[in-house]
């Protein structure tokens, strides 16, 4: 493998953390400059910082937090066929775990004995 200075060569591509940091710093400066262009009349604590919901009264923000269990509901629902098979495998019964272990040993034994 080629090692020169700060460029990690993976045989197929390159990775230079230094170049990444330079890009990141440039992006940060650009963001700062864009932020500087904004208006400075923002005042926290006034109605400017209150949530605006088409003129309706907004709900209490603490009630709006989506708890972790509800995130990715769609993902799990979409892969229901997969999860319905994979989650019940984690039975919590130690004998099942041992059967998996012996099963893998048996399969590997057959593979090693027969194939090689």
């Amino acid at each position: 493998m080629a090692v020169d200075g700060l460029v990690l060569s993976t045989g197929y591509g390159l990775w230079s953390p230094l170049a990444w940091i330079v890009t990141f710093v440039i992006a940060l400066i650009a963001c700062y400059l864009l932020w500087r262009l904004g208006v400075s009349s923002y005042k926290p604590g006034t109605e400017q910082s209150a949530p605006y919901l088409s003129g309706n009264k907004a709900d209490d923000p603490t009630a709006l937090h989506v708890p972790g269990g509800n995130l990715y509901w769609g993902f799990i629902e979409g892969l229901k066929w997969y999860y319905d098979r994979i989650i019940p495998l984690h039975t919590g019964i130690v004998t099942d775990y041992l059967i998996w272990m012996f099963g893998v040993a048996a399969i590997l034994l057959v593979l090693v004995m027969v194939v090689i």
Partner: protein, 114 residues
């Protein structure tokens, strides 16, 4: 045939141990199965170390110089000690499980799943 008897016993004990840990539902019986499996391995090591007509490797007043290597015995001794510690720890865990869950049936010891 007679010399193969230890190996036959090893196979029998192994099958017995595996059957016990795979098909028994009582936690204590599974632990016994583990102990049987351990004994099978210990017996295997001892059987491997056996030499016909060999004497213990103690040079003082040795009847012959046809001595066996003491390594397998040392291994088994270590392994037995480890086995005792393992059994003690497993049994103490089962005591706590029985106190908290009120059962030693592995089908019911499954608060942690999914």
């Amino acid at each position: 045939m007679f010399l193969n008897l230890p190996y036959v016993t090893v196979v029998l004990l192994t099958c017995l141990g595996i059957a016990a840990i795979l098909f028994k539902r009582n936690l204590l019986k599974i632990l016994l199965g583990i102990n049987i499996l351990e004994s099978a391995v210990n017996l295997l090591i001892i059987a491997i170390g056996y030499r016909e007509g060999g004497v213990a490797p103690i040079y003082t007043l040795a009847p012959s110089t046809n001595m066996v290597l003491p390594t397998p015995q040392a291994l088994v001794l270590t392994s037995i000690v480890i086995g005792v510690a393992t059994s003690a720890l497993l049994l103490s865990f089962s005591i706590i499980i029985y106190r908290k869950y009120g059962t030693v049936n592995v089908n019911l010891i499954r608060e942690l799943r999914e």
